[in-house]
Amino acid sequence: MMRKITPVIEWGTLLLSTGMVCFFMVVILWDLISKGAPSLSWEFVSTLPRAGMTKGGILPAIIGTVLLTMITALVSVPFGISCAIYLNEYATDNWLTRTIRASIRNLSGVPSIIYGLFGLALFVQGLQMGTSMLSAGFTLGLLSLPYVIITTEEALRRIPASTREAALAVGATQFESIRDVVMPTALPGILTGVVLTLSRAAGETAPILFTGVAFYINNPAGFLNQEFMALPYHLYMLSTQHQAIEQVRPLAYGTALVLIIVVFLLNLTAFYIRYKHSKND
């Protein structure tokens, strides 16, 4: 009797948990789409805001977020991956390595607003870069660095020793084995980590708050040494700080939906690259 019931209970619990998670996801997405979709239009994504943000589009914020994410990637991905390769493939297991690893883990737990303050002190003031796209991008790059390192290292650790040895045994140097065999094999895992990290960075508000984001810019978007608009901050301002909150609410939902779509496209790119690679193993 018990034997028959226990699996049902276990199975039921798992199903229920999965169901709850999916339920909330669907509710949130449905809420977002039903309220945001009406404000989506070609005009919304291709024009500048007008009439004190109550009309027009959010093009500068889209450009801002896309560029910002690219700078974040340029800073965090090459350094992060190199660092992970060093830690996992070359560094011997001594106190120095362990200290570095522990620091990276701690850094990944630092609240993002602290990164904002750090970016303000280092890039905006210390390096005289002012409040600008570059300062904000570098700040987000620093924020993302520990995540890229950790996820890359995990992807590398999952590659079995026998894969590396296969390359060494045919006369590859350690560097060649990493470049030609280990990295291509780990790439899907690395990409997943990078994309999750970048999607997270794309949605951050706190680190760019003091380092370059603006509610409204007069000049065209896209200058690296200028202040810029970004989707998450735009959303925040529209939904909490605007003098006509009720009036701009549809625009706020529209902005949220666009932000989700940008992140989704990012994930789709990674999915595509993974798919292309998976055909070869």
Partner: protein, 253 residues
Amino acid sequence: MTNKPIKLSGSSVNVWFGSKQVLKNINVEFPRNQVTALIGPSGCGKSTLLRSFNRMHDLSPDARIEGEFLLEQQNLYEKGLSVTEVRRRIGMVFQKANPFPKSIYENINYGLKINDVPKNERSEIIENALKESYIWDEVKDELQKPATRLSGGQQQRLCIARAVALRPEVILMDEPCSALDPLSTLKIEELIVKLKKDYTIVIVTHNMQQAQRIADKTVFMYLGEVIEAGDTHTIFHNPKNELTGNYVKGHFG
């Protein structure tokens, strides 16, 4: 048994991992164009010994190796000798087939590429290596297929082809059949016997029948030491040491 010249040898070999001594004063010789089996219970150091010859321990910081390793006259640990050169001359096949996550063709091409074999010679070498490893007929129409889609036995023969393509002088095999079904095992055994015409082969095996089927010489190891070495027939039917006798009869292991 004719006395063939010695191709590969290790003398006064001691290996430690950290403070633990894994190989103790080992002396072994592997005759040219012969198959030598390394047998002994798990953990006695067979893999460690095998991997000392193609310097697979070079990257483990806690491994310490002593002794003289000779490939004919060449000291394998000589200063200034590049480890990649050692590994080109001494190929290796592993316990679990480990093809690169690339196409069948590229699996063999890769070794040729990094060893600077001219491009226009490669496809012929690849074809010959696949034929030599008796897998050509099975894969000739799908050389671009990912190697990981092959069966376990095919993957292992591909790994042998990958080693053979570099024209090594010695091929080290670490339990190459332990993950394979009987039929694939039989194919690999036939292959090994054919390969000894051109190569010197050292094979670790846990399978006593296999050792008797394919090995000319057998080395019995126990707790990091070589207990007895000699002609396979002698080791199995007329061992000098009681321990050897008990092991080959399956009394422990």
